[in-house]
């Protein structure tokens, strides 16, 4: 509340947003032109259609924000546009490389631009439909149910498809998508709505043990359910990344809602137990850990990790330059390993800039949560920002071999429709909450006490 103290005058700051959107477009289009110059020596022929499409989408989102969320955070949208544009340019560059090598996959840049348009449509739809984020609290358990159904969809015999050992895809004729990405958004709303109601008993009851407040045994229910859910995702879908993401998300929200470090201790122990157990039981987890600790022990199994490492080393401090490297040597250089591809062509300097952009997105989300006046909005904004942060940490950490590699998409950069649409929806929700938070409070008119009631004398 301190930021909304006496002297705070709410400002819309849409002008600053427009300036940053133009700069973000310069990043995206600059990368696109840079790829053309680097690969073939001249500006790509379709720069007008491609660049025009991207610019149109960016300015459309800006106009919609001016109309539907005039007080929303001015930095969030440009950051996302820059990431999306950069990802598009990198995918366009990888299309060249794939064509050179005569590989049958791709091209990806066209579909990615289409998915960006669909993502922007989703962004507009969320801003239009959700006029007040507090209304979402009414549908807490509906969102929980939807999340469970979405998570179970890939396990159904006809719909679900297994790709590269992970059963996280749903296929409907020509269309296929990862429901887990949308489930993430639903889970954040469900966790937030649940914790708003249940946080008092979770926060207050319990006993103290060596300086840490430990929760009561009977309050452990929800955290155990979340733990089992993420273990289920791990066992049945073999999706390490999402499993980590869901559990981490619930743990952080529980901690934020109750302000008790005891939950972190309990959650950390549960995580350690689950991780050790799955390391012993599942060979795909052992494979990931082995590839993290010693990738050169088997150059066939860990080919992707090794290639990614070489790619980033090839890039060095300033990178090879757009179109000058050879990121296609790494399998899945356009989706899971796009961070390594960017590291090769833009170098440490470029990859650091991208990570700072991610950090700024998370910072704006947490800032919105801090200033937000209602608990539900606070928890949703925290959850969305934390899910973003966790996802970037898990995937970039995996690619750079800080932690074992787990399959998650890099938000806004990776090729992939479900991820783009889900992340645009997340940003829309964050901007809706920040719009509600930053707009001026309605004025309270002092009561006019001129016409008092007649006191009727009854005796």
């Amino acid at each position: 509340m301190s930021a909304l103290g006496a002297g705070f005058v709410p400002r819309k700051r849409r002008g600053a947003e427009l300036y940053l959107v133009v700069l973000a477009l310069a990043v995206g289009l600059g990368a696109y032109v840079g790829v053309g110059l680097g690969v073939s020596g001249d500006v790509p022929a379709d720069v007008y259609t491609f660049g025009g499409g991207l610019a149109l989408l960016a300015l459309l989102t800006h106009a919609v924000v001016r109309w539907l969320a005039p007080y929303a955070d001015p930095v969030l949208l440009p950051l996302v546009i820059a990431l999306n544009g950069l990802g598009l340019a990198m995918i366009y560059r990888i299309d060249f490389g794939l064509a050179d090598r005569g590989q049958s996959v791709g091209p990806f840049a066209g579909p990615q631009l289409t998915w960006t348009a669909i993502g922007v449509a989703g962004f507009v739809a969320v801003l239009f439909i959700v006029r007040d984020h507090r209304r979402l609290q009414t549908y807490t358990y509906t969102f929980g149910l939807v999340a469970i159904v979405l998570l179970l969809l890939p396990l159904l015999p006809v719909l679900g498809v297994e790709v590269n050992g992970a059963r996280i895809w749903v296929s409907l004729g020509p269309l296929s998508f990862q429901p887990g990405e949308i489930a993430k958004l639903c889970l954040v709303i469900f966790f937030a709505g649940y914790l708003v109601v249940k946080r008092e008993p979770l926060a207050l009851a319990g006993r103290r043990f060596i300086g840490i407040d430990l929760p009561r045994g009977r309050d452990l229910g929800p955290i155990l359910v979340a733990w089992l859910l993420s273990l289920g995702v791990l066992v049945f879908q073999r999706d390490l990344g999402s499993s980590l993401l869901f559990f981490g998300l619930f743990l952080v929200l529980l901690y934020v809602a109750t302000e008790r470090a005891g939950w972190l201790v309990v959650g950390g122990l549960l995580f350690a137990a689950g991780a050790y157990f799955s390391y012993l039981t599942f060979d795909h987890v052992q494979l990931r850990v082995q590839g993290w600790l010693d990738p050169f022990s088997d150059t066939d199994d860990y080919f992707q990790i090794i290639q990614g490492q070489y790619g980033m080393a090839h890039g060095g401090l300033l990178g090879r330059g757009l179109g000058q490297g050879d990121p296609v040597m790494t399998p899945y250089s356009y989706s899971d390993f796009i961070a390594a591809s960017l590291g090769e062509e833009l170098g440490l300097a470029g990859l650091m800039a991208i990570i700072v952009v991610y950090a700024l997105v998370v910072e704006r989300g947490l800032r919105t949560a801090l200033v937000c006046r209602d608990t539900f909005g606070k928890l949703v904004a925290t959850g969305l920002a934390v899910s973003f942060a966790l996802q970037v940490f898990v995937v970039v950490g995996g690619v750079t071999r800080l932690i074992p590699l787990t399959g998650l998409t890099t938000p806004f950069l990776s090729y992939g429709g479900s991820s783009l649409v889900a992340n645009w929806a997340i940003i829309a929700l964050l901007m809706r909450i920040s719009d509600q938070t930053r707009r001026p409070a309605p004025e309270v008119r002092p009561l006019e006490s001129d016409d008092a009631t007649q006191v009727v004398r009854m005796r």
């Binding site: 705070f8 680097g38 001015p74 950051l79 009631t453």
Partner: protein
Amino acid sequence: MSELTLTLIKLGFLAVLWLFVLSAVSVIRSDIFGARVDSTKTRQPKAAKQPKPGREPRGSPRSVEVTEGPNAGQTVPLDGRPILIGRGSDAALRLDDDYVSTRHARIATNGEQWFVEDLGSTNGTYLGSQRVTSPMPLTVGTPVRVGKTVVELRK
């Protein structure tokens, strides 16, 4: 395309990328430190209050008086602490009115203004024709009706 040109393009793009990041940071910075403070509205009253500390501003109420009802004429002095109105023995303004709840209403101040707040009474607290559901600002001489009793702030 020569090696030099490509190097310049590479460095130029990295410069654009970082320019974008730094511009975003500077917008965030101006958001934190640059919020315009409306100095004419917020500074003036503080400056006016400063010279005479300890003295209450003119027009602030000194007591609560019962103007109608069984306890008419009773007054309770105000010293900045909240006043509990009700039939109970712990009420600062105790009323012998059957239509008043044990803990009926409270009159409290935030230092500048007085407020009346209903404490979940059976028959309600009325300010003018309006039932008090949330704390309402109260001025001197405004009748507050609790049960069959009317109280008001007096200077």
